[in-house]
Amino acid sequence: MAINSDVLVIGGGLAGLTSALKAAREGADVRLVSYKQSSLRHASGLVDLLGYTPDGEGPVTDPYAAMGDLHDAHPYQTVGVETVREAMDLFDDVTDYRGDHTDTNALVPTHGGTVKPTARYPTGAAAGLASDDRDVLLVGLESMVDFDAPHAAAHLEAAGVPFDVRGETIRFPGDLQADAKITRYAKLLDTNGEVAVRGRKKGARDALAERVNTVREKEERVGFPAILGDDHTDAVRAALEEKIGADVFEVPMGPPSLPGLRLEDRLFEALDEAGASFETGNPVVDFDADGDRIETVYIEKNGARIPNSADQYVLATGGLVGKGIESDRESVHEPIFDCHIEHGEDRYEWFDGDAFGDHPFASFGVETDETLRPLTASDSVEFENLRAAGSVLGGYDFAAEKSGSGVSIATGYVAGENAAAEAR
């Protein structure tokens, strides 16, 4: 016996979630299993499609137009540009992200003061776009060294943004410990919890706005590191806007990331609404196959092997960082089903001597047929009921192209759609 479903998705990142969501909306009984919590809380929360071409040209203005010029093995070419649009419609349907009014990339300032071309961005980042010509005040917090506001402002000016930008560093009211977690700030702002300012108790939102008002000059928009609440971020932002008298936005941060966490929460909620099942916390370690059909996969829990069976499977376990692809000195492999990963025999062929060079390892991953079924070294299908999505796929370098989210959403969508269609 086993825990059964029509479709079993392995992996809880953007690709796995999109895949499960699509399959569930197609009417399949879907179950998603993830080794750990979603990798989305490591991500900025921005959703990019294509920011730069594989040759490094960019920022790309229209990602859809640029997709047509990609090489044939690129996942966008496998699924087709029209399908990418359909997949983004699904994403737009379940989130309140901005950017869906145009094909053009938005330019969003990052915590390092660079400008990132991205197709979608959270509502909370909307007032911060670099294409807006209103002046900006960036507010950093003394205890949050990840975001040096004056430094980020100087960087943005050097990048030639069409507005004046200034950075100020303040202390978060309430004398929090220097190592307070982002969730602590978010919780205080979510609940407007009391903080002590010079012996007087005040709501955290009011106290923060007052401090900003002492450093703001005439800037019409004010950017904070992304700590403005978790569950009630819209309310936090609205309250700050009212008290400061300017538009307020969040600057996306590195991990751990609240915008990523909020997106994770939203997508799991959508998955629940679609009637799917899911669990996290333990890895898929093994499987049984009958010929070229996967029959059962096993989740390991402290030595116990929990069988999970489905008609169709989706592999969305991530790439080299997400451990969906592993390597040692001898080889590069996919650890669950041992799907073929093309790589040079000598490991010194896997990287470029230049740190920012064109590294072959960045594009390592499984190759697939047009329905996203992984292929063996001789180009036959590995398993007839297995599809792959997201960064476990080869043929693209998401870090250089800024295409990670888009490829995950588009291939997740296709894998989920095909899996649901095939499920009996």
Partner: protein, 456 residues
């Protein structure tokens, strides 16, 4: 060139590991579990910190990344390093384990550090030590109380006595002590005929189901302390549900799972209890039984904390054959279909506000009840969100932790108030206490609903 100039004879293409290479043993031999690989795996992404319910409400608590890998490294490099006393503010919810992308054994590190702190740095004449010891040995208090259950329930909730307990022992007077059952589960079990009766019931049921009368379906029930002394209906439901599916149940000799002891750093007490549990369970596993727990903290202890903290003969066998009660049925029976076809009426025909215990999360069980019961006719279930209830066993019973415990629980209380139902549901006995304390709702266990749904 920088100061970090590389040696001129070093060739990265042919590393010089072959010649004159003497590996240095940085850390001396020890019988402790080696936590170094775990500490080395931490790349400081701090995602564990986003899971910590304590750090979210209290910035004086430095969070799991510090308590685990950072403190462990400090300890290795400085002989005089003492474990930071903040480790006692960790509630051992273990949520950080589920966050780490590198598989750092955070809760194992916390348990180890806390044990070391209590053993080496806490005064054994301190009231705090004895308060924690008494709280964590709940089984002992409960076994005495159960001799005179009505008197004990009254006495433990008698105002002046509670005032005195708070003043002298630091046990909060804000909470109501749980009611003791007038008949313990084990008394009921013995009166019912014990394992023999269960075998007869199972055999009869197998015949009704068209199975082999002597089919190999047998489980050893780890009921834990709470369903023995307090929520006896949960344990009875477990027995009836399992017999309904043709399983024969045994209730072997057992002590506390150790959960409250781990959380208080009382590792010696925990080990003493674990030895008894492992001994009786491993014998049964050898005979083909699987160990089943109805409390998610008990199953967590047997599955994860035992092999991570103790080296006892048979411990891995027990851990890899332990399951949570509903999980086991999901694997081996068509329980989902049975529930879909069932209907509940009567006392349990309710809308339930369900809270997933933290200890259910790492076992991948946080959605189990919601997903199982969402298609059940006659009852409804709504998840009240991913926040921690805040009580964490003995944590919320401590006078100095009570306010923090309620701050953590606030989000859950609010979600429970907003949920349609006015009856709560959870697998964890102390989460249930907190849910009741914060809302006044009656709290039920999923096994009770499962029994109402499928057992005639």
């Amino acid at each position: 060139m920088s100061d970090a100039q590389s040696p001129t004879d070093f060739d990265p293409v042919e590393p010089n590991t072959g010649e004159d290479f003497e590996p240095v043993d940085v850390f001396p031999d020890s019988n402790d579990f080696d936590l170094r690989p775990g500490a080395d795996s931490c790349f400081k992404c701090s995602v564990c910190d986003t899971n910590c319910p304590v750090a979210e409400v209290d910035d004086d608590f430095p969070g799991p990344k510090f308590q685990g890998p950072e403190q462990w490294r400090l300890k290795q490099t400085d002989d005089d390093y003492e474990i930071d006393d903040s480790v006692m503010s960790c509630s051992n919810c273990m949520r950080c384990d589920n966050a780490c992308p590198s598989g750092v054994p955070l809760s194992q590190m916390h348990n180890t550090a806390r044990g070391e702190y209590v053993e080496n740095q806490m005064s054994k004449t301190d009231l705090e030590y004895w308060r924690n010891r008494i709280l964590s040995n709940y089984r002992l208090s409960a076994s005495i109380a159960s001799k005179v259950p009505r008197l004990a329930t009254w006495g433990m909730n008698f105002g002046p006595a509670r005032w005195l307990m708070e003043k002298t022992m630091g046990v909060t007077k804000e909470r109501d002590f749980p009611e003791f059952a007038t008949q313990t589960f084990r008394e009921w079990w013995a009166e019912r005929g014990g394992a023999d009766a269960s075998r007869r019931n199972a055999q009869q049921r197998r015949e009704e189901l068209g199975l082999d009368r002597d089919a190999d379906k047998k489980v050893a029930y780890f009921h834990g302390c709470y369903s023995n002394y307090n929520t006896v209906d949960v344990a009875k439901a477990m027995v009836r549900v399992y017999e309904h599916y043709g399983y024969e149940v045994v209730a072997p000799e057992q002590k506390c799972s150790g959960t409250p002891m781990f959380a208080n750093g009382m590792l010696k007490d925990a080990r003493r209890h674990a030895e008894v549990n492992v001994s009786s369970m491993s014998d049964l596993v050898d005979q083909g039984y699987d160990a089943i727990a109805s409390c998610t903290s008990c199953s967590m202890a047997l599955r994860q904390e035992y092999p991570e903290l103790f080296d006892i003969d048979g411990i891995e066998k027990v851990s890899s054959n332990t399951f949570e009660a509903v999980e086991y049925l999901r694997i081996h029976e068509d329980v989902k279909e049975d529930v879909q076809e069932a209907q509940v009426s009567g006392e349990l025909a309710e809308e339930f506000a369900y809270h997933a215990p933290c200890h259910a999360r790492n076992q991948g069980l946080e959605r189990q009840s919601v997903e199982l019961f969402r298609d059940l006719e006659g009852a409804g279930i709504e998840d009240v969100g991913e926040s921690c209830s805040g009580i964490s066993g003995t944590y919320g019973w401590k006078e100095e932790k009570y306010a923090k415990s309620m701050d953590i629980g606030e989000e859950m209380f609010e979600h429970m108030e907003h949920a349609e139902g006015e009856v709560g549901m959870t697998e964890c006995p102390t989460c249930a206490m907190q849910m009741e304390h914060g809302t006044g709702y009656e709290i039920r266990h999923p096994l009770e609903l499962l029994e109402a749904a499928i057992v005639e």
